[in-house]
């Protein structure tokens, strides 16, 4: 699978603040590794709020995004952990009806 788009703003500056985003066949991916709190939280929620349908979001993170869960719950989204390479945490986020 090949990433079909770069970061959210489409420029290099955006990736520093919003993380790197790309689309694969299984959903939208976002890499927020290296961002200090609350950068990952804001970047992921901005992506989640921009999705109107049931497309899942895959988060690539370097830590457990604990502060994200209450915000996701408020928006009616759930999170499930996935297998990941060492040093990385991956979560699949899905809208819950």
């Amino acid at each position: 699978m090949t990433p079909s788009s770069a970061d959210a703003r489409g420029d290099g500056a955006g990736s520093a603040l919003l993380g790197k985003r790309w689309v694969e066949t299984d959903g939208v991916h976002i890499d927020v590794r290296g961002l200090d709190p609350p950068g990952p939280l804001v970047a992921i929620l901005q992506l989640v709020e921009s999705i109107a349908d049931r497309t899942p979001v895959f988060v690539h993170h370097d830590r457990d995004p604990k502060m994200l869960f209450p915000e996701l719950a408020e928006r009616g989204w759930s999170a499930a952990p996935l297998d990941a390479p060492p040093g990385e945490v991956r979560w699949k986020l899905e809208r819950v009806e």
Binding site: V42, K66, V89
Partner: protein
Amino acid sequence: MKQAGGAFLAGATSRLLPPSIPFRFFGAAVAFHLLAWIALFAGAEGAPRFAGGLGWPLAALHLVTLGVLAMTAIGASLQLLPVATRRSVGSARWPAAIWWLYTPGVAALALGMGTGAPMLLAGGAAATVVALAAYAGLLARTLAGARGMPVVVAHGWAALASLVAVLITAASLAGMYVGVPGLGRGTALTLHIACAAFGFMGMLALGLSYILVPMFALSAAPDERRAFASAALAVIALLLAGAASFGIAPRLTGLGAIGAGAAAVALHVRLMTIALRTGMRRHLGRSFTLVKIGWVLLAASLVAALGIALEAPVDGLPTLFGLLLIGGWLLTFLLGILQRIVPFLGSMHAARGRRLPPTPSALTAERPLTIHFACHLAALMLLAMAVVADSPWVMRSAAVTGAAGATAFAAFFLSVLRRMRRADARDATHAAPVA
């Protein structure tokens, strides 16, 4: 080689203390909040012109500073700093042991102050000092191993250094009541106030704001250089205040401290305002109205400090300064943050192993918070009127109003716990096998 998410999380989750740790600190703070207003009612006669000395006004003051402010700061910092700095506190036994020593210590200290019992006071002070020293050790360990968030870490170190000064001056002041010599009372008292309110609590409040305000407003982290500049100015202000309390060119250093402190506050509030204006969440409700009022009253406390430094002819100005600093800035700010952070942490902890945890808004009872909001602000106004008019009766009215607000806040806190338990019970029922 791939690693299961759960295996990594076992390590990551261990950085997060179990909910019973922060919640026991928050619960004690909620109880001491109510007790502080009751103590103020008992000491209303001497409170309008309170300037130190044993009695219920002193007990009320320490129930707020140690019982509510420091208690909440300990719980919040032990919970948030490991998450922000990626450095675990380690075993939950130490924070639990600190709580078991600190909580009865504060109660004994306040009772000793209120009843004028020096030995009870000294015993409570000893337990409190040992507990805070242990907390300082945990804080130092977390800060020393921190990875990331250097602004928060810098504020943490300044708060820690201030805490050491607070403990030394507290031991010196408490020692006077049982005949143990220490620093001169004037020096110890001035240093104690500056380091406790502006240093330890103030730097923790400013530092943790760099995590909490953007997190709740859902904004980018504030500009790091400006935040460091604010921290540096605050540290300069504290050093100058320390010099003034030791009698080193006191007028010049005192005014310098106020100037540097005002610049630090202006820069900090500017950064916080930008975070609030640019965040994804614009409507933060009553909680952030309290936070904003806290910032205004922090600035007002510096104006009152200036009045004291310039020997302005205003009756009760030192008491008014204390009211603006402790009740106006720190207590108002903290209660605003606490009413957001308690349901947020409740939801965060409940998320473990759940597909859909209870939301922070589902855990929040609005009616008690509405009552608390009105009562807290009314009580602050009545306190100011009592000081200006030198009226014990107005002081009693303030204490009753404040106690009503504290009761409402306690109802809110208990409702969060009850709703968390209900969500647990509902999940257990759904998970039970069907016969």
